[in-house]
Symmetry: C2
Subunit: 235 residues, 2 copies
DNA sequence: ACGGGTATAATTGTATACAATTATTCAATC
DNA sequence: GATTGAATAATTGTATACAATTATACCCGT
């Protein structure tokens, strides 16, 4: 992380509050707590072996991240995420990933470019072998390098937030082999545009890459899990 | 706010935590606390007549909003905002306000359109009289109506966050009469494009509107206050 | 006078106690 | 049997006590 980073990842992983925050977030994103499930302070504090104080602070932070909805004097609930939310996020990301690629063209370092090439090289290997887990990891790395290279802590922060937010619905993305191959191809094209300092092309390609990723998600049955009925609160 | 809203404005204004959160945010945005100033829990809790608990929770929320930087075991500081941060935010907003206008074209209601017209009508009056305070308020209303009309809680939330974030540096925007008149003209053009259901034109105009607003800010001496040296931490 | 180190103070981090609010149970009434 | 309402339980909200960490002051030796 850059020295300018202002929040999430700066949150102390070693304080109890930080541990609870990160573990709760991980559990929510991993699906351990279902949508609209109530998060009781006492239950969590007992499970994690801490008092309620750090748990409460962690819950309030998760609320601002949008993963938890707190109803005063009532409780904390896992925030519902509708199909439309996901759709909107991908539309927003399409624009911002484009901007990121354009800026990265201006500011990327030689070393970052080499890391990109390595990630793509490995991706091509694992895509041919259909290794879903490694591909997910490499996809994250590709985008993280670009976020870093765009030289804007504000944009980097935005994109990382969105990326985290949709992790809940992204699980199956790379189990589809056809999409994996296409996705890696698109990564390579983006990298080449950046290497050739063609910012506008990099922008277009990155935007398209997001739109394709979303279109593929729809095909793979996003609608089965997220019904998009808009209900977001319990009772 | 829509029923789907997930966080900031949902934060209970009537709980002590909510009061402290909103008051601290207001004070920071209004410039009462300077950049990099330390926010001591005890001092704040005494000043507001509450215990440290709600103050701590409020500070942690402000951290996630990016207004406060917390260094573990050390303290909470007002986050520095560099000239580049502001520049980046306006670039991002330029894209997202465009998207918002495009979506608003699809979803705006007759009643919202009428509210837009009224706001613009009033703006034209106050711009001719050079009433800076009223113009600021009407500008906020114009954009809020569009945020609402875009029918996306995710985008609305993003834009409101950014809007709050740059409040610290926006104070002088409407003291410049020339810009006021231009700005209102641009608002009218955006509204007309939306009324005529020309989404692409609305998008272009809204994007341009943001770029102009930023360019004007630079002329009005943003650089005097924010030197952009990138220092963001105390000591 | 200056630097280093220790004692002290100040501040944050966590746990717990208590208050306020909300949920649940169950009996009384219709 | 369903409904209301009071008593009770459960849960969140706030205050306070104590622990851990960091900052400050001061003494001492050179």
């Amino acid at each position: 992380m850059s020295q300018y980073d202002i929040n999430v990842e700066n949150t102390d992983r070693y304080s109890l509050r930080g541990k609870v925050f990160h573990r709760l977030r991980e559990d929510i994103l991993a699906g351990k707590y279902k949508e609209h499930e109530e998060l009781r302070e006492m239950a969590i504090s007992e499970e994690m072996g801490v008092s309620r104080t750090p748990v409460r602070e962690a819950l309030r932070q998760l609320e601002l991240e949008g993963l938890v909805t707190i109803i005063p004097n009532k409780g904390a609930y896992v925030t519902g995420i509708t199909r439309k939310d996901v759709e909107d996020i991908y539309a927003i990301r399409a624009l911002l990933e484009g901007l990121c690629a354009k800026w990265a063209t201006l500011h990327i370092s030689q070393q970052q470019l080499e890391r990109l090439e390595e990630v793509i090289f490995l991706s091509e290997f694992h895509a041919s072998k259909n290794h879903a887990k490694q591909l997910t990891e490499l996809d994250d790395q590709f985008h993280d390098i670009l976020y870093e290279a765009c030289n804007s802590k504000m944009l980097e922060h935005q994109l990382k937030d969105f990326h985290e937010y949709v992790r809940r619905v992204r699980k199956t993305t790379f189990s589809d082999n056809t999409r994996s191959l296409e996705s890696v191809k698109e990564h390579r094209q983006i990298m080449e545009a950046i290497r050739e300092k063609d910012g506008d092309r990099a922008e277009q390609l990155a935007t398209l890459h997001m739109k394709n990723a979303y279109a593929n998600m729809l095909l793979n049955g996003l609608s089965k899990t997220y019904d998009g009925n808009g209900s977001d609160m319990p009772k």
